[in-house]
């Protein structure tokens, strides 16, 4: 193992995979560390089920948000999965996928010359020297390893590095609801609408008659997930996630899947002979604390479709905010338009060799509710990788930014 990689990437989720791919394509060495035993992050461990933010929001014909890596990733996903974009409310376009397809695709993109991946490992300690990361100590729960990277890209979804380095972060003051995904198999119908409505109707009746807990109000079918008699569902966790609610979320989620399944299979013709075929290992946490960047993406940047000279990503998904226990809140901006994320949102203001990509970039609570989607994470992850590679190689920052803008076909 290369203990002195040019770039170290924390997390092999969408952003981490993108960052690693960017770094190795640009010719630098990269070591990726992932806490699970497989890649994909929330896309696999929580089985988000849909990739949003790949297309511009607007009436058909569909337009890709960017060229380059994010488009390549999405096209390969659709080809391998035999899936295509699904449209909601005439203008929101997303790509449903099967868990295994995503896992394999992430593995493929990680399998590049110059890229090493360590699974089942976490960062235990950071040593700083003069405002920069000098060493990163990993553990695989058996032994410790000291890595001395040139740059670090935190694509963990949280503020793992900043927390260990004891530097201030942006607290997630308005955490969004977590969601537990599960899959049922054995459906005889081919129309998703029947499944979706039968589910909502029966659960509503169950709750109104007191036979089912009111906590299970927010259960929905993942659109586009019905395939070969299997369909996936999301249960909204109705209480606010916090730093110590992990066990509570697990307990709630396990019980919720069992209770909902029991009720629906005994009360609806459509669900009579289905069975649980999969429960996502983790409830999907949508947001968390975020890193302090040189710049911060704000909700007015998003809704105002602001562009920047140093823009390194194009966000096309509306603000999609899930308050725990309530209906989702959407804030749309102009059709077929986008906002740009400035490079400063990916660079730590406090540690000189730290970058971030994915859902932990420097953004306010409402802005991240748009920028956290997988399609945008593929962009910010890739961009963070190029910026990190550039800094290690002594390349002028403007040059790195131009490189990203060319890759994404941002004029």
């Amino acid at each position: 193992m290369n203990l002195n990689p040019d770039v170290m990437v924390i997390g092999a989720g969408a952003a981490g995979v993108a960052a690693a791919y960017a770094v190795s394509s640009a010719g630098s060495s990269v070591l990726v560390i992932e806490k699970n035993t497989y890649p994909g992050g929330k896309a696999t461990a929580s089985y988000v089920g849909t990739v949003c933010g790949i297309y511009l929001t607007g009436k058909p014909p569909l337009q890709f948000c960017t060229g380059g890596f994010p488009r390549q990733f999405a096209e390969k996903l659709m080809r391998t999965d035999g899936t295509g974009p699904v449209t909601h409310a005439s203008k929101l376009h997303f790509i449903p996928y099967q868990m295994e397809t995503m896992k394999n695709l992430c593995s493929e993109f990680l399998n590049q010359p110059g890229t090493e991946v360590v699974y089942d490992s976490i960062v235990e300690e950071i040593r700083l020297d003069n405002g920069r990361i000098d060493s990163v100590i990993l553990t695989d729960h058996v032994s410790r390893l000291t890595v001395r990277p040139g740059m670090v890209v935190d694509a963990s979804g949280e503020t793992v590095i900043s927390d260990l380095a004891k530097v201030p972060v942006m607290f997630d003051d308005n955490p969004q609801a977590a969601a537990q995904v599960f899959t049922l198999g054995g459906f005889a119908v081919e129309d998703e609408t029947i499944i979706s409505l039968a589910l909502v109707r029966n659960l509503k009746n169950g709750i109104q008659s007191g036979k089912l807990s009111k906590d299970y109000e927010r259960v929905s079918l993942i659109p586009g997930s019905l395939k070969n008699g299997n369909a996936s569902f999301k249960i909204g966790v109705p209480f606010k996630p916090s730093s110590d609610s992990a066990q509570r979320i697990i307990d709630f989620s396990q019980k919720a899947v069992a209770d909902v399944f029991e009720y629906i299979s005994s009360n609806s013709e459509v669900f009579r002979s289905v069975s649980i075929t999969f429960i996502a290992p983790e409830a999907g946490i949508r947001t968390g604390n975020r890193n302090r960047g040189e710049a911060t993406l704000t909700v007015s940047d998003v809704t105002g479709c602001r562009k920047h000279a140093d823009g390194i990503a194009k966000g096309s998904w509306p603000v999609e905010f899930w308050p725990p226990g309530e209906n989702v809140q959407m804030k749309y901006f102009d059709d077929n338009d986008w906002y740009e994320i400035p490079a400063g949102c990916l660079k730590s203001a406090l540690i000189s060799n730290l970058f971030f990509g994915g859902r932990n970039i420097s953004a306010d609570d409402q802005a991240i509710a748009s920028a956290r989607v997988i399609g945008t994470c593929l962009q910010t992850g890739f961009a963070a990788g190029i910026l990190a590679h550039g800094q290690v190689r002594g390349i002028d920052r403007h040059e790195s930014i131009s490189h990203i803008r060319r890759e994404f076909e941002m004029q």
Binding site: S90, D191, T193, I194, S196, L197, S220
Partner: protein, 85 residues
């Protein structure tokens, strides 16, 4: 309960306009529900409205994409149930 297809159409337009969409949004018999941004929770509100209004239980298997496409398709579906009674 007896009702003509135009009564059903009118009832549905009234319910949707007043309960489920923002003021000023035009709902026509042919407007796809999808275009109005009605999610599954809203569609179930419509189903429950029909069941109450016409004292007509609608089995899960009738909740198809075709039937729940627009006011027109739904009115037609409800009408065929009522005329069968």
């Amino acid at each position: 309960m007896k009702a003509s297809i135009s009564d059903i159409r009118a009832d549905l337009l009234q319910f949707i306009s007043s309960q489920l969409v923002a003021d000023g949004v035009e709902v026509l018999p042919g407007t796809p529900f999808e275009q109005l941004g009605l999610d599954s929770f809203s569609l179930i509100e419509i189903v429950m409205f029909i069941e109450r209004r016409y004292d007509l239980p609608l089995p899960d298997t009738t909740l198809t994409r075709e039937n729940l496409y627009s006011v027109e398709s739904l009115a037609s579906c409800v009408n065929s149930f009522l005329t069968r009674q």
